[in-house]
């Protein structure tokens, strides 16, 4: 099972990072989802592999039972990753509603915009960026 796991981690992580490095928000969110899949599989790989699920039979032994601890970790991690994805979907919807572009936008490149005085002025709320 280990080579399959490793190959899958490779696929998910490569595609995930590739998408996270894209410019539009939807691709980044999909990329994050793929990266979290990969991380969950790595977490599982850190535990002892077993031939039986950690749901015991009454009176049964613990021989060959899979490591339950990483599974518990991954279970919560899946739910949290989902919560994050949902939050990002909502954030994208809110952005779209307010008419903003949903690109992971570059910082505007003009001398005035990131001269120290301009940044300071912005921090003090004296000037608002167009």
């Amino acid at each position: 099972m280990v080579p399959v796991l490793a190959a899958s981690v490779f696929l998910l992580l490569t595609a995930g990072v590739y998408l996270v490095l894209q410019k539009t928000l939807l691709r980044v969110v999909i990329g994050l989802a793929l990266v979290s899949h990969a991380v969950h599989l790595i977490l599982l790989a850190s535990g002892r592999q077993g031939v039986v699920a950690p749901v015991l039979l009454p009176g049964g032994g613990i021989e060959g039972v899979a490591d339950p601890l990483p599974q518990a970790f991954v279970l919560t991690a899946i739910v949290i990753a989902m919560a994050m994805t949902i939050y990002l979907f909502a954030a994208m919807a809110a952005l779209a509603k307010s008419g903003e572009r949903m690109e992971v936008e570059p910082v505007p490149d003009s001398d005035e915009a990131h001269a120290p005085e301009a940044v300071q002025a912005e921090l003090e709320g004296r000037v608002t960026r167009p």
Binding site: M1, P3, V4, L5, A6, A7, V9, F10, L11, L12, T14, A15, V17, Y18, L21, Q22, T24, L26, I30, A33, H37, H40, I42, L44, G47, R48, V51, V52, P54, V55, L56, L57, P58, V65, A66, D67, P68, L69, Q71, A72, L75, T76, I78, I80, M82, A83, I86, F89, A90, A91, M92, A93, A96, K97, M102, E103, V104, V107, D109, H114
Partner: protein
């Protein structure tokens, strides 16, 4: 030696450094001390000198620890006392007395002079600390303090000239910057040996360590002692008033590099690079300094370039790297300090008398300043290396050392020294005859008056010493050079006796030749200047270019990064993270040693297709759909890994994610281009190595099996202590309840965050969107089943797959189905409480489940278990973890439903708005 003596000596040594500090502090504090500033400074130095002499007479020897500052890092304030260090300190304090006295006369009663002398005193203290420190880190601290003080000192005349700041900055950047690698070198020495010089002397470091330490420390030596290519700050520093140049640039600061070389010789003198680097650098500096000194019109600049040349000569001598060479270098160091300090002060006297320092305007000063003429004659004679002065003695010793052995490097050294010395004779003649003989070349020079006693006493003393040094060669050897050089090198040195007359020897012949050729050169040049060399190679211009280049580079870098998109930043972070993973890649070879799993490879194949489609296929919805497919393949992998709870969770999560996407899709896809994402090589270059690192990590984790005690504990304790058979759920609900509590809170926060992002907008329309008739009828059928299933997952979770998280997700799916079919309004009417309230109530249950056991005196989140058998017929297992699980279910189901309803209502209003 008694303890009392050691304590006394510790205090005496500390006093050496403290006296000038006290003098400086006094001058800074008392504004009315303007008139006596020179006296106060000289007294401070004099007290230091007295303490040094006391310790010399006591024959103090060894390390005196004052203060264990940071012993863990080997930072200790301690003094290294022996006749060598004390003699160098004595030189610094002695010249200090003379210079302070001179400075008092030079500045007159003025606030500027008082401040300058105060700073000069602090500088002297740092210099003395540098000389006496045993601990390398303290030495470094004092070293940097001298650089800092020199910055303020060079800047003294900032009110009169506008070039002082640039000169001061140049000196500071060059010397302090050069010292930074030295700190690394010291840290290295401390890690392979010791931070104490004395302890290092007792060790015999391997050549490799010696070489590393030497290379790291070398820049500090070259910058501080003004060696090519770092020499240019020294002539620049002539912007300082003369007393300051006389002190910093003769006896003290510029000697720090040489002193460090002498100190380090026993530690890393064994490396071949010692000679290979120091001799050529010193030789070039020696020749170039002489050449430039010949071309100067300003006699102060002439002295500065002469100092550069002689520092080169000393570096070369020390670079020969034998005990005898070190001995010669030490003698030259003292002789040079005496005549160069005296000459700088004489220059100050000439400037004061004739109001000019330019050779083109001076001349004939002998008439009006006879005393200065005689002193300058002796000092110049010493500099030119004429008998019977100190300079002759030391130059003879250097040449003698060179002619004793004759490998190639020594031939090179001899040529450099001879050339440099010929120049020295010539420029010394230019200075001396140009200033004092002939007829005055300007009105100021003809009206020159003899400077007062304050200007004459220091040159008098130094000239006398230069004379005594030469004539008393025999005693100097016995009482001074022998103890000093032996204690600095750390062993006795077999050397021929020092004498003015050895008979006709090779060095004597060389000396005679040097003087003859030097005189000839002076006559030929006859006051004409020399070209300063190509401008592109001039130090200040190179330094300016270096500064503006580094500024431009920094500017360009920040511009490039400031304009970049976040993905570039993120990519950079990942690339740096990647470096950490390089050692892992070796594990990838395990791919071929493992057995291949057939079922797994089928799943993998589907996953590959889905991911390829995700990137290569057009269409926005396709992407999200394929993301779900990937999720299902991951769920299948969980199945193959024997994790049934994860399968359940993953499937439900995929459903929910798809639902939420569907709810927000109208907003989400508007800005996403439907054309394929496609491949870009830059992104792949970051992504592929990271993916490989992840795969390698899997193999690495597999190669090191985990400690079996942890899983075995949970597997054994779950049925016995927590009375549950589904170990994963027992961990979540019982053993690691606190984690679950916190994670549930995260989900609630995300759900509430969705509510915060999307403000509720109620439409005025009476009808609202809901499912069609068929959907409603189907829902009527499915909904009770879904709720039953969710309940079953909750109740059975302790022993079978299921549990709080899974059940909560199922309830959320059921609820979403409900309001989608009947509309949110009628859905709200049918449920007793708003979903977000349910979520908060669930959180309260979780908190209660944690707190109640604490009130009852048990640890947080303790649970009780038992079996109930009403009527004796059934056996129902009960456990308080159920309450905890119910809390989880309410929080998750409530939170997710609330978020979904908010999105649903927003979507509807938009539709009502008629878009």
């Amino acid at each position: 030696m008694s303890d009392a003596t050691v304590t006394l000596q510790t205090w005496l040594a500390t006093g050496i450094v403290l006296m000038p500090v006290l003098a400086g502090a006094l001058l800074f504090a008392r504004r009315e001390s303007n008139a006596v500033a020179g006296l106060v400074g000289a007294t401070g130095s004099g007290l230091s000198l007295a303490l040094i002499v006391w310790l010399l007479l006591e024959r103090a020897q060894g390390v005196r620890v004052v203060w264990e500052w940071v012993p863990e890092l080997q930072v200790v304030l301690s003094w290294r006392l022996n006749s060598g260090t004390l003699a160098i300190a004595a030189l610094v304090a002695f010249v200090g007395v003379l210079v302070m006295q001179f400075a008092g006369a030079y500045f007159g009663p003025s606030a500027k002079g008082r401040r300058a002398i105060a700073t000069l005193s602090l500088f002297e203290a740092s210099m003395l600390g540098l000389i006496l420190a045993d601990n390398l880190f303290m030495l470094f601290t004092f070293w940097e303090l001298t650089g800092l003080c020199s910055f303020f000192l060079i800047n003294t005349d900032a009110d009169k000239r506008d070039d002082t700041f640039a000169a001061a900055q140049q000196a500071l950047v060059v010397t302090v910057g050069g010292a930074l690698p030295m700190l690394l070198g010291f840290i290295y020495l401390a890690s392979v040996g010791s931070a104490s010089l004395t302890e290092l002397y007792a060790l015999d470091l391997p050549i490799r360590a010696q070489t590393i330490a030497f290379l790291l420390i070398l820049p500090a030596v070259l910058t501080k002692s003004a060696q090519i290519p770092f020499h240019f700050w020294l002539p620049g520093a002539m912007a300082a008033p003369t007393p300051i140049s006389a002190y910093l640039h003769s006896a003290t600061m510029v000697k720090a590099g040489l002193i460090l070389l002498i100190y380090l010789f026993p530690v890393c003198g064994g490396t071949p690079l010692w000679t290979l680097l120091l001799v050529p650098i010193g030789g070039v500096t020696c020749i170039w300094g002489s050449y430039r000194a010949l071309g100067q019109d300003d006699i102060k600049l002439l002295m500065a370039w002469s100092t550069v040349s002689q520092l080169g000569l000393m570096t070369l001598t020390l670079g020969l790297g034998t005990d005898l060479a070190i001995r010669a270098g030490i003698l030259y160091l003292f002789a040079h300090a005496l005549f160069k300090a005296g000459l700088f002060i004489s220059v100050g006297g000439i400037d004061h008398a004739a109001h000019t320092r330019l050779l083109s305007k001076l001349g004939g000063l002998r008439e009006n300043t006879p005393a200065l003429f005689w002193f300058a004659l002796i000092l110049s004679g010493s500099m030119a290396g004429l008998p019977p002065f100190a300079g002759f003695l030391s130059k003879e010793l250097v040449l003698e050392k060179l002619t004793l052995a004759a490998p190639l490097v020594h031939d090179v050294a001899v040529i450099a020294i001879v050339l440099g010395s010929i120049g020295t004779v010539a420029y010394t003649s230019r200075f001396f005859f140009g200033s004092f003989t002939g007829s005055p070349r300007s009105e100021e020079a003809s009206k020159a008056h003899s400077p007062g006693l304050g200007f004459l006493s220091a040159p008098a003393v130094l000239a006398a010493l230069s004379l005594v040094f030469g004539i008393g060669a025999k005693w100097i050897d016995r009482w001074f050079l022998e103890p000093v050089s032996w204690s600095l090198v750390g062993r006795p040195i077999e050397a021929p006796h020092l004498a003015l007359w050895h008979g006709i020897t090779v060095p004597l012949v060389l000396s005679a030749g040097i003087v003859t050729f030097g005189w000839f050169l002076y006559r030929r040049l006859a006051g004409r200047g020399l070209p300063p060399g190509p401008e592109a190679l001039s130090g200040p211009i190179l330094f300016e270019n270096f500064l503006s280049l580094s500024r431009a580079l920094g500017d360009r870098l920040s511009r490039a990064l400031a304009g970049a998109s976040p993905s570039v930043y993120f990519g950079l972070v990942l690339v740096f993270g990647l470096m950490w993973s390089v050692p892992l890649y070796g594990k990838l070879g395990d791919f071929f040693t493992h057995q291949w799993n057939f079922g797994g490879s089928l799943v993998l194949f589907v996953q590959l297709l889905a991911i390829a489609g995700l990137i290569l296929l057009p269409g926005r919805l396709t992407r999200v759909l394929l993301l779900s497919v990937v999720g299902f393949t991951v769920a299948l992998l969980y199945r193959l890994l024997n994790a049934p709870d994860l399968v359940l969770t993953q499937l439900l999560v995929e459903v929910l994610t798809a639902v939420f996407f569907a709810l927000a899709v109208r907003f989400i896809v508007t800005q996403e281009s439907p054309s394929p994402i496609g491949l870009s090589s830059a992104r792949l270059a970051v992504a592929v190595p990271l993916g490989l690192a992840g795969a390698a990590l899997v193999f690495a984790l597999d190669a090191e099996p985990p400690d079996p005690r942890l899983p075995d504990f949970f597997l054994e304790a779950a049925p016995t202590i927590a009375k549950g058979l589904n170990v994963v759920n027992v961990i979540l609900g019982d053993f690691r309840g606190l984690d679950t509590l916190v994670e549930t809170v995260v989900v609630i926060l995300a759900a509430l965050g969705v509510g915060g992002l999307l403000r509720r907008e109620r439409s005025g329309r009476e009808t609202e969107l809901k499912g069609s008739f068929v959907v409603r009828q189907l829902t009527r059928l499915i909904l009770p089943l879904a709720i039953m299933l969710a309940l079953a997952l909750l109740l059975k979770g302790h022993d079978a797959p299921g549990g709080g998280f899974v059940s909560g997700l199922s309830f959320a799916v059921a609820a979403i189905l409900g309001f989608a079919a009947y509309g949110t309004r009628s859905f709200r009417a049918r449920i007793p409480v708003e979903p977000d309230r349910i979520a908060i109530f669930g959180a309260l249950i979780l908190i209660a489940a944690s707190v109640i056991p604490m009130v009852m005196g048990e640890p947080m989140l303790t649970h009780r278990h038992g079996t109930l058998s009403p009527l004796g017929a059934f056996a129902i297992k009960w456990s308080t973890t159920l309450f905890f699980e119910i809390g989880v279910v309410m929080a998750i189901a409530g939170g997710l439903t609330a978020a979904a309803m908010r999105l649903w209502e927003m979507t509807n209003t938009r539709r009502d708005g008629g878009i």
